[in-house]
Each structure stands twice: as C-alpha cells, then as structure tokens.
C-alpha cells in the first residue's frame, strides 16, 4: 500500500460518501430514546437491589455453620487419632490379615487343643509384668 494511493482513495471515498454521512436519523427513531434508556437503567438497578438482599441473608445464616464445618474438618485431619492414623491402622490390619491367610481346619483344631492352664500362666505372667511396671 503506497501512502499516496491511500490518500487518494481516502479522499475520493470521503467526497463520494458525503451525502450518506450527512444523512440524519429519522425523528421517529429518536422519540422517547433517552426516556427508554432511563427506564431500563432504573429497572436493572431495581432488580440489582432485590438480588442483593439474598446474599446478605444467606451469608448471615451460613457463616457460623461453615465455620463449624471447617473447624471439624481441621480437628479430624490434624488429631493423632484423626483420619491419617485411622487409615494407617486400617492398612496395618489389612497387612496382618493378608499374612495370616485363610482360616483352615487345622487352625480350628489347634484352638480346640488349647490348654486353659496355658492361658492362666499367661495371665499370671502378665499380672507379674504389670506389677513390675507399677513398682518401676
């Protein structure tokens, strides 16, 4: 695009379209134009103030509830017996059960042959240990 040719084209179009440029908008389209805009603005402002009441009401009700919820979640996730330790315990239990495998007939029979005196001995030894612990 040469600057001279642009200027020529620009000048000729400006002259050629002068009549169209100076054409006035028919008065029928201007009648009540600004009043209509005022009405639209006022209508929209009216709707806006009506909608504004809702969030204020909603916020006042839900803020304490949300605060309690956030506190509860924080407590659960940060407490030693919270979510993390619970999941760890659960996974350990799953590991132990996996190692033990399926409960068989042999396991059942070995339980039946369990001597109760062994259990008593265990209880005595446990009581003894507890006593030592207390003395210590």
């Amino acid at each position: 695009m040469k600057n001279k040719s642009f200027e020529e084209m620009d000048k000729s179009l400006m002259e050629g379209l002068k009549e169209l440029r100076e054409k006035k908008v028919p008065p029928v389209y201007l009648k009540g134009f600004s009043e209509s805009i005022e009405r639209k603005i006022l209508d929209q402002e009216g709707k806006k103030s009506f909608v504004f009441e809702w969030p204020r009401f909603t916020v006042s009700v839900w803020v304490p509830a949300l605060a309690v919820l956030v506190l509860a979640v924080t407590l659960v996730t940060h407490h030693p017996l919270g979510m993390r330790s619970l999941t760890e315990e659960l996974s350990e239990e799953i590991d132990v059960i996996a190692e033990l495998g399926e409960w068989s007939e042999e396991d059942e029979s070995s339980l039946e042959s369990f001597d109760e005196s062994d259990l008593e001995a265990l209880e005595v030894s446990y009581a003894g240990n507890a006593g030592r612990n207390r003395l210590a």
């Binding site: 084209m9 379209l17 054409k23 006035k24 600004s34 929209q44």
Partner: protein, 196 residues
C-alpha cells in the same frame, strides 16, 4: 463551543457520580450520532436504535472505567461497535439455526426473537431511502469482515479521523489505515460487480 465543552465536562462528572439526569442529558446530546453510527454498521434503523440504547445502558454501568484522558464519544464508539458486533454475531448464528429448523417452526415466527430480527430488518421507507442514498454500499459493506466494516463505517460514513478511530477501537493508526485500504479495495470491486 467552549461553553459546550465545559457543560459536557460537568455532565460527565455528575454522570460518573451516578446522576442519571446528567447521563440522560449526555444521551440526548449523542443519540443522533450513536444511532447513525450503529446504522452504518448493521444497516437498519430499528436494530440501530435498540443497539444504541443497549450501548448507553452499558456505558452508564461501566462509567467507572471511563478515563478523563479519553474523549467520551470515542469511548462510546467503542461500546457501540462492540455491541453491534455481538448483535451481528447473534444474528448470524440465529440465521444459521433458522435455516436448519426454519421449516419446522414457520408458525412461531412472531414469538421467535431471531425471526423478529429478520422481520424488522428493513422497513419499506428504509429500503427506499437506502436505494436513494447507497443501498449498494450497504450491500457491499455486509460482505466485509467486521473489523474492516467498522473501520470503513467510522471513517467514511461517520467522518471520524484516523486517530479517533484508532482510539475508539484501541488499535494503532497504521492498523486503521491498513484496514481502510483493504476495505476500500474490496468495496471498489464489489461496487464494480467484481468478486471481492
């Protein structure tokens, strides 16, 4: 002239602080130019009036974004052009939809907004006026991409300077000239009956 500028400044200050009366005075001062500008882009007065009204409502809402260093009418032109662009995009989409489903919904023409746009597109006096004042120019303009069309309209049908168009559309003066050149070439071919 100086008095008018001072008055406009005062009206702008008041309108910015939310005075609707001052804003209405600005609307009355610019309504003729606003409708004419949109008319040169969309090609009919019914739509031009609706788009201009929508643009003024947008301008009132966005008054906080108006900066004193830019002129009010160049800022308003930007809103007018963008609103016209949205309108033409919706109209184009609507035409595509009505082309596909038109045969099924012929009876609903009165309630369908797209059909309403089509029915109000050109009234008889407008068609007659356009014929007198350059219907062929509007037909050729419709074939241009939106940027070229808006730049051409603002320059040759609205009389804005290259700098004012650049300010209104937030582009460089060089970009305005390039678009004007391309639009001018295509218009010349269209008006000669050649393919642009």
């Amino acid at each position: 002239m100086e008095e008018t500028i001072i008055n406009e400044k005062l009206l702008l200050e008041r309108a910015r602080s939310g005075d609707l009366g001052s804003f209405s005075a600005l609307v009355q001062a610019y309504q003729q130019r606003a409708i004419h500008t949109v008319y040169t882009i969309v090609g009919n007065y019914e739509d031009a009036r609706d788009i201009a009204q929508e643009s003024f409502v947008k301008a009132y809402k966005q008054f906080q974004s108006f900066r004193e260093e830019s002129r009010f009418y160049t800022w308003l032109y930007r809103i007018l052009v963008n609103t016209s662009k949205d309108f033409l995009r919706k109209k184009k989409w609507g035409q595509a939809v009505s082309f596909w489903i038109g045969s099924q919904d012929e009876g609903d023409g009165e309630t369908d907004p797209v059909a309403r746009v089509e029915s109000t597109a050109r009234t008889a006096p407008e068609v007659l006026m356009d014929r007198e004042l350059g219907a062929r120019i509007f037909e050729a303009l419709e074939k241009l991409p939106f940027r070229q069309r808006s730049v051409f309209s603002l320059r040759y049908l609205e009389g804005l300077s290259i700098e004012e168009i650049a300010e209104s559309l937030a582009v460089s003066a060089g970009a305005v000239k390039a678009n004007l050149w391309q639009a001018g070439e295509k218009m010349r071919k269209c008006l000669k009956g050649e393919k642009p």
